[in-house]
Amino acid sequence: MSPRRLMGRIGLWFSVFVIVSPAILFFLWMISLSLKYEIDNAAYPPVFIPEQFAWKNYTDVLASNRFLTYFFNSLIVTGGATLLAMLVGVPAGYGIARMAAHKSAIVILIARITPGLSYLIPLFLLFQWLGLLGTLVPQIIIHLVVTVPIVIWIMIGYFETTPLELEEAARIDGATRWQVFRHVALPIARPGLAVAFILAVIFSWNNFVFGIVLAGRETRTLPVAVYNMISFDQLSWGPLAAAALLVTFPVLLLTVFAQRQIVAGLTAGAVKGG
């Protein structure tokens, strides 16, 4: 390696280090906060690695049965909203792509531009009128605002790139349109299904604004539950950070392991919920 190339390499690694460190340092600090007793968290200068790890912060959070309730609420809301969105959104993406009905994408664009709060006023009144406010149903339905556009948008993009020849061959062999979709188009679009599913899950899981309005004490999802912890125990940083980390941990895990799909999905449609 020539000295000039070596300098270039060192420069590159230095740049990589500078660029990635805000993310790495932040999450390391988050872990550090979550593993410290109050004495260490209140110390100045700050302690990065404590002498004694406060695993208790995690066991306390997990042991409280409220946390488990909220975890299952999040699971049901995100799971329900994502599955429903896949169920209606995947065929819709296929139909729109095959009909070349590009104008219908404007509705999705409008949904993308609209602030989440403006859906809340009418739907809040509707759910109140239907007497559904104490249940998880309103949250599942309103999360569709986030998940359905993501799924449709990504699936249109995928079905537009899948070859038509195979489908036409199947049609000539006498397959119905549904059979063509189910047995020819869908298997080819499997990578797209994964992308749509992952992004819908993440943006639904992270959603906060719908929960603060629609969730009651028993129907909070994890982001809302964590927010409520801030207001109650302002000073116990350890358990708070532990709870925050537990809430976002599934998403971070998914980000690292499915980063190829996430990058593909985000650069294709650049969709974000809320």
């Binding site: 590159l12 690694w13 740049s15 660029i19 990635v20 805000p22 993310a23 790495i24 932040f26 600090w29 988050m30 906060l33 429903l84 209606v88 959104g89 065929p91 296929y94 139909g95 729109i96 009909m99 070349a100 509705v107 409008i110 531009i113 609209t114 602030p115 989440g116 709060l117 403006s118 859906y119 006023i121 009418p122 739907l123 569709l144 605002v145 449709i152 038509l164 349109r177 979709f181 992270n206 906060f208 604004v209 994890l222 982001p223 964590v226 927010y227 708070l240 950070a241 925050a244 809430v247 980000t255 980063q259 190829r260 996430i262 990058v263 985000l266 650069t267 650049a270 974000k272 809320g274």
Partner: protein, 312 residues
């Protein structure tokens, strides 16, 4: 020079086949369920919001039609006017800073190095992480006495700051979080643009003895402009609507120093339960976003036009 084939003859043949025309309408059953959902959760709320914005409606009392009264209240509502100002400052900063840092990061991630995929995954973690969870950690980091940020400032000899607890610094502090969170999205979009640039211009520039900066300025930047524009547009739409981070860290405070339109809308609709007025704010807010997007599109057209004009 290599020849550019735009469409393969086979593809052109199939799309021109008469059968295509015949089976187009029959795809409606595929779209119908989604159409019902979209009508119910997106279109219905929109129509309802517009209708409600013409009514005086507080929860628990009957509604009365008031025409444009809710809209006329807006310019005379100092809190709303102030919120518009905060939103503009917050949005401008939250578009420009991620664009700059995201482009720099994309140039670095465009190089080949070991562990690039993994590090890119780490780099995009801030934007995928649950906003409320990271807001909570930032709140701890902003703490004037115990926060790690003031400790870091003291290491480089700077005086401690009040961050989000000072009306003068609260918006820049929140923009810091927003920039940290959304620079990765800009990076991904620009990275896509960089991947599409051919290598020939760089090779000839290198022969001509151009330096790294010159190549960036005169080759890379013009070619990634369309991608920067898309990134800026998306960033603008998201920054205007930003809610989670601001709400979780400051709730619009101290006082109302960081109250943006979206936060004010929340207060009006779900703290004061003034739903008619809240709906009017929602409509105006939406129109404002559409207007901003239109202005950006117009600027883009102008820019293209002058580029062509300058080249002639």
């Amino acid at each position: 020079m290599s020849t550019i084939t735009e469409t393969s003859p086979a593809a052109a043949e199939t799309s021109a086949a008469p059968e295509q025309e015949w089976h187009r309408p029959t795809y409606w059953p595929f779209v119908l369920p989604a159409l019902i959902v979209v009508l119910a959760v997106i279109v219905f709320p929109w129509l309802f919001t517009i209708w409600m914005s013409f009514n005086e409606w507080k929860v628990g009392s009957p509604t009365t039609f008031v025409g444009f009264a809710n809209y006329l209240r807006l310019p005379n509502d100092p809190r709303f006017v102030e919120a518009v100002g905060h939103t503009i400052v917050y949005t401008a900063l939250s578009v420009i800073l991620p664009l700059i840092f995201g482009t720099l990061a994309a140039v670095v991630f465009h190089q080949r190095f070991a562990g690039r995929g993994f590090l890119r995954g780490v780099f995009i973690m801030p934007m995928m992480a649950t906003p409320v969870a990271i807001a909570l950690v930032w709140t701890m980091m902003f703490h004037p006495q115990l926060g790690v940020l003031n400790y870091l400032l003291s290491l480089v000899g700077l005086p401690p700051q009040l961050w989000v607890f000072n009306p003068a610094t609260v918006i820049p502090s929140l923009v810091l979080v927003e920039t940290w969170q959304w620079t990765p999205l800009v990076m991904l979009i620009v990275l896509g643009g960089l991947a599409a640039i051919p290598t020939e211009p760089y090779e000839s520039a290198e022969i001509d003895g151009a330096g790294f900066w010159q190549m960036f300025r005169y080759i890379t930047l013009p070619l990634i402009m369309p991608f920067l524009f898309i990134a800026g547009m998306i960033r603008m739409i998201d920054a205007v609507k930003s809610f989670d981070i601001i709400f979780a860290i400051t709730q619009g405070g101290p006082g109302s120093a960081s109250e943006t339109i979206n936060l004010y809308l929340y207060s009006v609709a779900f703290v004061y339960y003034d739903l008619g007025y809240g709906s009017a704010i929602a409509v105006v807010f939406f129109l404002l976003i559409v207007l901003l997007a239109a202005v950006l599109l117009y600027l883009r057209k102008r820019m293209l036009w002058t580029e062509i004009g300058g080249g002639a």
